[in-house]
């Protein structure tokens, strides 16, 4: 392992480490635009120039590999002055339209100008004109004047999504990025180009002008869009309901996770947050022929308990792989453990969805693996529904999912018509919630705490980002109330208590705790200390 000195600090790094990463390890920040640990090295922005002893010219630290005995200086007058002038070059033809730019507040030009620029403009000429507000695809808008031509977006489309829609046109200071003729930036990962654009050139058509980024709050979560379970950040705002039509969730961003999604997430997951605010079930409802009654939570549980007690074992329960491990564990304890029901089944989508070898999985549920590790198998939900249709069941409880995703509406209707009562516990209105005689509002997974286990067996924890809307409660809270009301002794107060119990009883989750899972959401057991995750990426490129 090469040992080198950066700004007087001696540091040892793995062979092949770029100086910029080595500096990071030594706690030294070298500014950069074009470098991205998940992409090949372009070396075009020239922001990360540093002095390397015995080399006459300044060297870009994103490209030069650390070598034994190397002496690097990142803060000499020459370096600082050059950095300042590189910024001057980058901002030369930039419109400096920060007041109307959506990137303002998270713009690397703004940040670095304050840190490394602070020069007075010497420009006495007209700036170059380039196209503005050009839709590159359904999700991404280009402002070519703000672009610093770092080529991160181009490299992303070449190397990660492997769709190669983007390239350069023209030359010199007239260079622009553009979409290949006859194409659109419409790959399944296009939103990532906005994330990695360090400036306001690429903005998100879904997010732009919704809210200033400095009004956003953030918390960690996990995407529930498919069995990958990408680590994400939820960006939300509660104080400014006049921005963005009152939606609390403003956007999702991928969160680096070396094991699951690296720096990326797919567009379907990214833009799939609307259901947290739209079309929500807010109050418990009891529907009898010819009447509709709103109830509070306690009444709803009491009502359901009464129905269940009289139905005996003629109750079907359909659980969802969208529920957390804690919820599934609790449901299993109540329905198969305590009540010894026979017709407890796990829903699974009937049609296999799109899948690729990047992130997207065909299974659109975040916790199928968790459910299976808890002993719940898919494939029997249809039989439960058929049993209901043939009059074999008195009541049916459906958790979470719209059955329309798995069964056609006719089959559903036939089953529900035969049932004496049915209960839907979930967050959004749809056909199943319309069919059910009881509806109990549940929190979405941004409104509760819990864990999902992805298809590779990596368990991730998601935080409670938002308070539930209306009278909604987390499904584990509803299950807890139901269990207690059914006479069970369930000594849990928090989701963590359930997880602790679960980790003691289910071997797969052995030794996992919330505390461990809080650290980045990664599965600690599988972590092989990838301190500098980019290296393996470099190897692949070279």
């Amino acid at each position: 392992m090469p040992k080198l000195t950066i700004d007087g600090k001696e540091i040892e790094v793995p062979k092949g480490t770029r100086l910029i990463e080595a500096a990071k390890c030594a706690g030294i920040d070298v500014p950069y635009y074009c470098y991205h640990p998940g992409l090949s090295v372009a070396g075009n922005c020239r922001m990360c120039l540093v002095e390397v002893e015995k080399t006459p010219k300044l060297q870009i630290s994103c490209h030069i590999e650390a070598a034994d005995g190397m002496v690097v200086r990142t803060n000499t007058e020459k370096v600082l002055k050059t950095r300042q002038h590189v910024l001057e070059f980058l901002l030369l033809n930039h419109p400096v339209d920060c007041p109307v730019c959506d990137q303002a507040g998270e713009c690397w030009l703004q940040d670095y100008y304050m840190k490394h620029g602070l020069y007075d403009s010497r420009l006495n000429e007209d700036k170059n004109k380039k196209p503005k507000a050009v839709p590159l695809g359904p999700n991404v808008m280009l402002d070519a004047e703000r672009c610093i031509l770092c080529s991160r977006c181009i490299r992303f489309c070449d190397e990660v999504s492997k769709t190669s829609e983007l390239g350069f046109i023209n030359r010199g200071s007239h260079t622009e990025i553009a979409v290949a003729p006859g194409r659109q930036l419409d790959n399944k990962y296009s939103g990532n180009t906005v994330d990695i654009c360090p400036v306001g050139a690429l903005t998100d058509r879904d997010f732009r002008f919704k809210i200033r980024v400095w009004y956003l709050k953030e918390n960690n979560s996990v995407c529930s869009g498919c069995a990958r379970g990408c680590s994400i950040q939820v960006h939300y705002n509660l104080d400014r309901p006049h921005h963005g039509k009152g939606e609390r969730v403003k956007r999702l961003k991928p969160r680096y996770n070396a094991q699951v999604n690296k720096w990326w997430m797919c567009d379907e997951g990214r833009y799939g947050y609307k259901s947290h605010d739209a079309n929500r079930i807010l109050e418990a409802v009891y529907r009898a022929p010819g009447q509709l009654k709103e109830m509070n939570g306690e009444e709803a549980i009491a009502e359901l308990t009464a129905k269940m007690t009289s139905a005996g074992k003629k109750i079907g329960v359909l659980l969802s792989p969208q529920l957390s491990n804690e919820e599934l564990y609790l449901a299993k304890q109540i329905f198969t453990g305590h009540l010894r029901l026979e017709d407890v089944a796990l829903l699974s989508p009937n049609a296999e969805g799109f899948q690729d070898d990047i992130l997207i999985r065909a299974d659109k549920n975040p916790n199928t693996r968790g459910a299976s590790e808890l002993g719940l198998k898919t494939g029997q939900a249809g039989a439960v529904l058929e049993k209901a249709a043939s009059g074999g069941l008195e009541g049916l409880i459906v958790f979470g999912q719209d059955l329309t995703a798995c069964f056609d509406a006719g089959k559903q209707k036939k089953a529900f018509e035969k049932l004496a009562w049915s209960c839907f516990v979930g967050s959004n209105h749809h056909l199943t919630s319309e069919f059910a005689s009881h509806v109990i509002p549940a929190a979405t997974h941004f409104e509760k705490e819990g864990t999902f286990t992805n298809f590779e067996g990596i368990t991730q924890k998601f935080e409670k980002v938002l308070e539930p809307l209306g009278s909604a409660r987390a499904q584990w809270e509803i299950l807890l109330a139901l269990g207690k009301s059914l006479g069970m002794n369930l000594p849990y107060e928090r989701a963590e208590d359930i997880f602790h119990e679960l980790s003691l009883n289910v071997p797969f989750f052995k030794d996992l705790t919330y505390e461990k899972l809080n650290a980045g959401g990664e599965d600690i057991r599988a972590m092989a200390a990838p301190t500098i995750p980019s290296l393996e990426q470099y190897d692949n490129i070279l």
Partner: protein
């Protein structure tokens, strides 16, 4: 004085196979195959002090010795015939008049480096020379000097002519490789150097047309003889392209190290209308300018470097006393602004900015502080980029105002504006967006 290549430069004439062979053509290639090991070829070229005549002046034999053999990958030879440096027009002469000497040089270089496929990257404007070269290749194939089992030996060599599309940056060796691979000609990060990771990620030798064309002469006359023709460590002859305000502009084949004064006054016939010499650019547009007092310098790579300029591509641009240095710099910088590939920020923005400032100065709107601004911009453009284009732009940008500062100051004070230059600006100005909007992959 020796005439090695220029003796073939008969106006309107191409020496095809018959005549070239009558002159002893391809004997050296045959001799190399029959009497030399590839190591011995490299040793001979090292002894000849042959320098890279495309501009960098890197010792040719040493360059070859860096090429790793036995990597399991093929080694490619790439011939740089992009000849884009303004003021340079020697390669065109070689290919037009004596294409076979280039091919013979290619065969020798290929043998020395164990190359079985060579590419000649020729600039798009050279369509005539490219046709001539293709025809010469066909002739050589018929003679079995190229193709399968050449010279009856167990050695294949294919030469492919690849035409460029007119970008200056395609002459930068790694930009050229990118272009040859079908990509946008963005110069590559170094290391790795092309000798190790070059064309299609294989070890690659890149040589200029002129460098290779001197190889047959080296093996005919011997390395010692060739080395002695030139100056210390600068072996042999080179083709100097003299343009500008001289009585007899043209290509002159002269020994390396010849004094610049002799080039201008003895060979090129002196300054037109016997005016006073004002300045000379000695090695293509990217070389620093020399004043009339600085022309007693030997024209080789080392002596010119010692003078703060460079021998470069051998393009000698002579300016007489009627030349406006300010306008000359404006025209010069317009070129770099137009040809900067746009990859690195300092070059992309710097060349464009400098061009705008100089346009304004020449338009009569100059300010005294512009001079220092130009020099300051220049100091952050050079040495901060991937390739040498910005360094090339920085050389004139620094030297013109430094050596002719008072002329810049007077120009600005007088608010002089040259209507001829300005009208030209409007037709060729780079401040309008260039014609095509062509899509390039990186």
């Amino acid at each position: 004085m020796e005439k090695i290549l220029s003796r073939f430069f008969v106006p309107g004439k191409t020496f095809w196979m018959d005549e070239y062979e009558k002159d002893g053509g391809y004997e050296q290639a045959r001799k190399v195959f029959e009497c030399f090991t590839r190591e011995a070829v490299i040793e001979e070229v090292k002894k000849s002090n042959l320098r890279g005549l495309g501009g960098a002046g890197f010792p040719c034999g040493m360059k070859w010795s860096f090429v790793p053999q036995n990597t399991g990958k093929p080694v490619y030879l790439v011939v740089n015939a992009d000849e884009g440096e303004p003021g340079t027009f020697k390669d065109k002469y070689i290919i037009r008049h004596v294409p076979h000497t280039l091919l013979e040089g290619i065969i020798i270089a290929a043998y020395a480096n164990n190359v079985h496929k060579a590419y000649v990257y020729i600039r798009g404007e050279y369509s005539g020379p490219a046709d001539i070269l293709e025809r010469a290749i066909e002739e050589a194939k018929k003679k079995n000097y190229l193709g399968k089992k050449i010279f009856g030996r167990d050695y294949d060599l294919e030469v492919v002519v690849h035409r460029g599309a007119g970008a200056y940056i395609c002459g930068e060796e790694t930009g050229l490789l990118e272009s040859l691979e079908g990509k946008r000609a963005y110069p590559r990060l170094k290391p790795p150097f092309p000798a190790v990771v070059g064309l299609f990620a294989c070890p690659t030798v890149i040589n200029n047309v002129e460098t290779l064309s001197y190889l047959p002469a080296i093996f005919k006359g011997g390395a010692e003889w060739y080395a002695k023709l030139g100056s210390e460590k600068n072996g042999g002859m080179r083709l100097l392209c003299v343009s500008g305000h001289v009585k007899k502009p043209g290509v002159y084949e002269l020994p390396l190290g010849i004094p610049l004064r002799e080039v201008i006054y003895t060979h090129a016939g002196g300054i037109r209308e016997d005016r006073k010499l004002k300045a000379v650019v000695p090695g293509g547009l990217s070389a620093a300018i020399l004043t009339a007092d600085e022309i007693d310098v030997g024209m080789d790579f080392d002596q010119l470097r010692a003078k703060g300029t460079m021998a470069g591509s051998g393009g000698v641009i002579v300016m007489d006393e009627t030349t406006s240095i300010v306008e000359a710099l404006m025209v010069t910088m317009r070129f770099y602004a137009h040809e900067s590939c746009g990859q690195c920020s300092p070059c992309r923005e710097g060349t464009g900015w400098v061009n705008k400032i100089l346009n304004r100065v020449v338009g009569g709107e100059g300010r005294q502080q512009d001079i220092d601004n130009l020099l300051d911009i220049c100091s952050f453009m050079g040495g901060t980029t991937i390739c040498a284009l910005a360094d090339g732009a920085a050389m004139p940008l620094r030297s013109y105002p430094q050596k002719f500062r008072s002329e810049f100051e007077t120009y600005i004070v007088q608010k002089k504006s040259n209507p001829l230059i300005l009208s030209e600006l409007h037709t060729h100005g780079v401040h309008s967006r260039g014609g095509q909007r062509e899509f390039h992959k990186v």
